[in-house]
Chain length 257, copies 4
Amino acid sequence: MKKTVIEEIVNVKLKDPVLIEGLPGLGMVGRIATRYLTKQLNAKPFARLYSPHFPYYVLVNQKGSVRLLHCLFSFWKNKTGKHDLIFLTGDSQAQTIEGQYDVADTILDFAEKHGVKTIITIGGYRKEAEKKPKVVAVSTDLELLNKALKADAIASPSGNPIVGTAGLLLGLAKFRKTSALCLLGETRGYLPDPKAAKGVLTVLQNILKIEIDLSDIDKEIERAKKVIERMKKIAKERETHALKTRKIEEGKVTYIS
Amino acid sequence: MKKTVIEEIVNVKLKDPVLIEGLPGLGMVGRIATRYLTKQLNAKPFARLYSPHFPYYVLVNQKGSVRLLHCLFSFWKNKTGKHDLIFLTGDSQAQTIEGQYDVADTILDFAEKHGVKTIITIGGYRKEAEKKPKVVAVSTDLELLNKALKADAIASPSGNPIVGTAGLLLGLAKFRKTSALCLLGETRGYLPDPKAAKGVLTVLQNILKIEIDLSDIDKEIERAKKVIERMKKIAKERETHALKTRKIEEGKVTYIS
Amino acid sequence: MKKTVIEEIVNVKLKDPVLIEGLPGLGMVGRIATRYLTKQLNAKPFARLYSPHFPYYVLVNQKGSVRLLHCLFSFWKNKTGKHDLIFLTGDSQAQTIEGQYDVADTILDFAEKHGVKTIITIGGYRKEAEKKPKVVAVSTDLELLNKALKADAIASPSGNPIVGTAGLLLGLAKFRKTSALCLLGETRGYLPDPKAAKGVLTVLQNILKIEIDLSDIDKEIERAKKVIERMKKIAKERETHALKTRKIEEGKVTYIS
Amino acid sequence: MKKTVIEEIVNVKLKDPVLIEGLPGLGMVGRIATRYLTKQLNAKPFARLYSPHFPYYVLVNQKGSVRLLHCLFSFWKNKTGKHDLIFLTGDSQAQTIEGQYDVADTILDFAEKHGVKTIITIGGYRKEAEKKPKVVAVSTDLELLNKALKADAIASPSGNPIVGTAGLLLGLAKFRKTSALCLLGETRGYLPDPKAAKGVLTVLQNILKIEIDLSDIDKEIERAKKVIERMKKIAKERETHALKTRKIEEGKVTYIS
């Protein structure tokens, strides 16, 4: 494999489709949200993107076979609304500077080919946790931005960087006749953050005018909460233990002197 | 985006133009000086350089949209003198070795296309601060060098390296019919240094025989000075605080023993 | 050398050949096993793969000359069975991400050209030492996987990564009419591990239905065992010495106080 | 500059030339020896090699201009012997893996074009200092190797790596009708080592049957010796000073307690 390629596995014709992208990144917000949509809407895979800029390992799958790291395009036929949806998520982002630009460009070529005129990218926005994480929106298109702001997203301060595919797709879309919106869920970013993803999903269903059942992501949020509580407990036990050890050692010192 | 490209946004015809380059680098001297000139002369943007060798993020702008990192060419019509001016500044330099050579070459191609026969590059020269920072000049053209020396620049010791675009443009210009001069403002280089930039501007207006109002950069210098004073004050307070803490601890030690 | 090339040194016609690959990697399992087979079966070299992605040094050989780092293809004519064998081992894997994909692809092109329909790759699987290291198998082909499992290999947990050429050959083989099996010998991976390699060889001779004399690898295992014992002894002596030194120092401290 | 290029500055016709290469590397042995020969024989520059794989800075020269990093080919017409000589030295080696292979290949193309059938590369061989550093020889050609061994070089142990251009030129020469010899001067490698270079020069003049005045390199050796002595003296003074400081501090401690 000498260059980034997209292999189409099913031939589909889509109605004025919107592309929604969420690759691994800060707090895994983009990937969690996009995978959740793919599952809930029962979207069907139709193309895979492979690249020599992805890490050079394969992953064992459940059948005892392997697969190259890749990104997966799935589609969803929207029976009631105007826009079919394409979802893009995957194993990894490109690992080199030039690879990042190359992969983003290849995605845009593919989108253009399928008649995509609107792209929504999803990512995380580093911020110390609040009760309810907000969703930050930026867009190449004022109308699209306003839709997001009406759907309770907030505007980004000027000067902020948006790193990786979620940002480059917007930057490169401006050279094409494609509008693009980026939704970033506020997250501390250390661990996979379904709560931040839920925030993005809430904004998203509003913009797309589709209804998504969010009860399953609430379960994910519960699980993530328990993981954090368990980690905090372990950390506390360690601290207590360390304190005891220190006291014992100080005791010793006293004894020795 | 698979390679470095220049997108021309306005069609301009320039009179024997001189290109002045100042990208981010040591003490931001080049960028500060070039942006200052662009503003003061009210130069107009006419082309943008994009490259897959720039960092792979985008920046949010004031309209809530984003832009790819890029370099910007602006022009200024010189009504009284012989040479129109082209200014080149931008967000970043190329991030890889091969990228640096590639971007510099693309700039020279563009300059040649627009009839540029003289290039002036601006950068910083690492030196511990003196009252009035000097400007170091090197050139591929003896006449050009002498102009700079007459304008109070000093010659560079032989063997010095000039890193990045400011240097490569000179090195690569020698393969073309282009003369190039590099002006380096002495700077400690830790912080954006408008004082070093002012030094370069003074030499530059002398060489270019144009008049530039330098009162605004004096304000920038004042601001930078205050920033430094504030930082020094904070550093001092920290020191005092640390000293107190130490004394208290030493006190304790005495007490314990 | 601007790209990966394969130089054929002998023209051979092979009968439905199986390619067995083992390059340097974890515990050197793949390389030890493949080299052992090459030697035992007296396989003959017939092609070399060179690449600008290999490290940029040469190795002095026994005649006082040098050789570029490369991978070596050897063949073995199977007089009694259905499949001739091709062995691939070498000095190094590619050093960059893109290089890894490039080299794996070049290997597959070459295999295809020689009519290879089955590839077996060998590597190490990191696991703390047990009495008898197991062999982990994954395959792009269920039948092939079952053969390995019958030959006492165990299935890999899903989600495991297989890094480097041993993995990429499987991942990329899926785009071609080539079946591929990967056999990973469990190893701690710190030192060359002939014991892990022997495990793989045992499975391999069963799958390939060829007999290989394993007495020589038992000698290698003995040698490796002695090396480890020697290293443990040295480590213990160091520890004892450190303990004594500490006691002496503690003595000093007592004395000083 | 998008790829490695050689710019010929003078048109020369050479008589069965031998190419002698010495780029910066371990102990600067190759560069010191090759530059010495170039000077002593008053060889004339005739071509420059530029590459986007060299570091991305330029060097200020004595005329106040700059030059790109490059390698320089010089020639020497041999009035009495059979072979003219080409010398290749320069500022830098390529900075990336692929760049190293690319630059070495470009050198060989150029050598072939000028009818070079023998190449001699020079480098350093890491070894703790002895009274008289030896010269280690390896060659793609047994006859050439024997010449070096007769001239008091010693053979290299098998398995040794030779890193960089000095090694790759030999490895890649084997694909062409070019013989190549590598001479490595033993050096500790920390500092420029004219003594190691002298060793190589002694062997070289014997092989090439030319006489080179070595009195100037003896002066360089003297200078290098003085530098080392000065450094040792400084190190000793520091040690003495540190010892005093420690004693004072220990004194304090006693006082405080």
